[in-house]
């Protein structure tokens, strides 16, 4: 099972050179610090954000929903994920602690007041995603409005033994001017394979073996995976200049289950990052 953590370094919109500089610095940092770093196939991300439209006669601000249309080439090359989650109208203040937990459970106090419902995810074929977005924006226009579009094109990826690191320059694409794109920052996604406690057999790890033995799933310690990811990040960013930007961290939520739910958890983590961009 793979567990991932995400880091976002915000960079001012109209300085695409700055983001390229930071990205190259991070790549250099990986290549120097890890002897075993192997470059993987480049990956890409396509993201569209829609926001629900309140009825025209509504007086008080109603809770809004966000809908993300996300395609991650390294997660699933043939499917696009549509994720709808509700979000209350309370504007999130910038938390002093740079950590933002994507887990919407009410126990986290610094979380902006997100609704308790975790939201629904469906996956649709990639070939139909443009038509689906067009349908949502045109035919369902009383209900959904387009907010922004973000892309990562040809992002480098490295495998360093235990970890897989995906880096990317997040670009906002304006529908009119395809040439002039502004940057939204750098994203670094660190994935680590979680060792299940008594499963030494590599072949069975992905075949759903663990699901036969229900109790073992709950014993998987995600805290350790998070600590490992954080340690790697600290090592990566040593010596890299971010300027004024403060990197923000997003982790996968803790109620992770194998199989299809794992992909959903990755999608939720990415969408948590991509939503706050607006």
């Amino acid at each position: 099972m793979k567990y991932s953590g995400l880091y976002h370094i915000p960079i001012a919109h109209n300085t695409p050179e700055a983001s390229t500089t930071v990205l190259n610095a991070l790549i250099h940092s990986i290549e120097t610090k890890f002897d075993l770093a192997v470059r993987q196939l480049p990956w890409s991300l396509t993201h569209r954000l829609l926001r629900s439209v309140p009825p025209p006669t509504a007086q008080s601000p109603l809770p809004q929903s966000y809908q993300h249309i996300l395609q991650l080439s390294y997660l699933n090359p043939s499917q696009t994920y549509c994720y709808i989650h509700p979000f209350s109208a309370i504007h999130p203040s910038h938390p002093a602690n740079p950590q933002i937990k994507p887990d919407p459970s009410p126990s986290t106090t610094q979380q902006p007041q997100a609704s308790a419902a975790p939201g629904t995810i469906i996956s649709i074929p990639v070939s139909q995603s443009e038509a689906h977005i067009g349908f949502l924006v045109n035919q369902l226009s009383p209900l959904w409005a387009f907010r922004h579009a973000l892309n990562v094109v040809n992002g480098p990826a490295y495998a360093t033994g235990q970890f897989v690191i995906h880096l990317g320059d997040l670009r906002a694409s304006r529908p009119g001017s395809a040439s002039v794109t502004s940057t939204s920052g750098i994203v670094v996604c660190i994935s680590t394979a979680i060792e299940d406690d008594d499963d030494d057999d590599d072949d069975l790890r992905d075949s759903g073996y663990m699901s036969l033995d229900g109790e073992v799933e709950e014993e998987i310690d995600l805290g350790e995976a998070q600590a490992q990811i954080r340690a790697l990040w600290i090592m990566l960013k040593e010596g890299v200049e971010f300027g004024k930007a403060e990197p923000r961290e997003y982790m996968m939520s803790k109620e992770l289950v194998k199989g299809e739910r794992e992909k959903e958890a990755v999608v939720r983590m990415w969408c948590e990052l991509l939503r706050l961009r607006s």
Partner: protein, 275 residues
């Protein structure tokens, strides 16, 4: 994507004969079609037509002249599930759940369909905009609800499909579970038995739908070619099935505005002279 459509009606007694004739025309065996359609409509009510004109602007001279956008229509949409005879046979709770756990390899069984009201204009065929999105994984029902819809009803479509050059011919009838419909607030978790489904039309007549799908209406050559082909099919079937253009309002999928009546009917008859 757009569709060009023509329809015909066949009484129950002629169904087998028409099926054989269509198999001959299309040079193929009929493909069995069994679908479950779940109908949704938006949670919010449509605005009164003309309400946006009454919403006045400000008298502030310096502000820009903001035109209120015309009220956009709200539509009924559907989730369509492809079924087979075996799905109906399974009597326990295992039969066809609402969520699909299919991975990228399996064929999508659920699709989210939208159909617009057919365009005005008289070409001899109906033209309407449609969109269908296959759902590969996840919970389709929860997704459609989260889009801002509510469940209305569900019905079943049973028939056969042929493909004759560019024309997709569907010979079908609608089935439903009698009596249950008004009580439902969400789709059934398990399928009913096939024998318990009754035709919506008590005479059990079948509908013939001849359809050509056109990707882009901006190409007049393609559009004209499609219209001509559909008309040729109509001529070809003359004598067997009467194929015609129905009224476009019969296929209207928009949600209608219902005025709220402010006058309550009197609880008892008013007697003259009583204050």
């Amino acid at each position: 994507m757009h569709e060009l459509l023509l329809f015909g009606q066949i009484p129950r007694s002629r169904h087998e004969q028409v099926l054989k004739i269509l198999a001959g025309v299309a040079a193929m065996q009929p493909r069995r079609v069994l679908e479950r359609h779940i109908v949704y409509k938006p949670l919010r009510e449509p605005e009164e037509p003309g309400a946006h004109l009454r919403r006045g602007g400000t008298q502030n001279v310096t502000s820009k002249n903001i035109k209120q956008a015309a009220a956009k229509d709200l539509y009924f949409t559907q989730l369509v599930q492809q079924l087979s005879e075996e799905d109906f046979d399974v009597s326990n709770a295992q039969g066809s759940s609402l969520t699909t756990a299919s991975d990228s390899g399996a064929e999508a069984k659920w699709a989210y369909e939208f159909r617009d009201i057919p365009d005005t204009g008289d070409r001899g065929v109906l033209v309407r905009l449609t969109n269908s999105t296959d759902i590969m994984g996840g919970d389709p029902h929860a997704y459609v609800l989260n889009l801002g819809n509510q469940f209305v009803s569900e019905y079943y479509l049973e028939g056969h499909r042929f493909v004759h050059e560019n024309v997709v011919i569907l010979l079908f009838r609608i089935l439903h579970e009698p009596g249950v419909r008004s009580l439902e607030t969400s789709p059934r978790d398990t399928l009913p038995s096939f024998a318990s489904l009754q035709p919506l039309d008590p005479s059990s007549a079948y509908i013939l739908e001849a359809k050509i799908r056109v990707q882009d209406l901006n190409n007049p050559a393609v559009l004209d070619a499609g219209v001509d082909e559909l008309k040729r099919f109509k001529t070809q079937m003359r004598g067997c099935v009467e194929i015609s253009v129905p009224d476009r309002l019969l296929l209207d999928t928009r949600v209608k505005w219902k005025p709220k009546t402010s006058v309550q009917p009197p609880a008892r008859p008013v007697q003259a002279g009583v204050r």
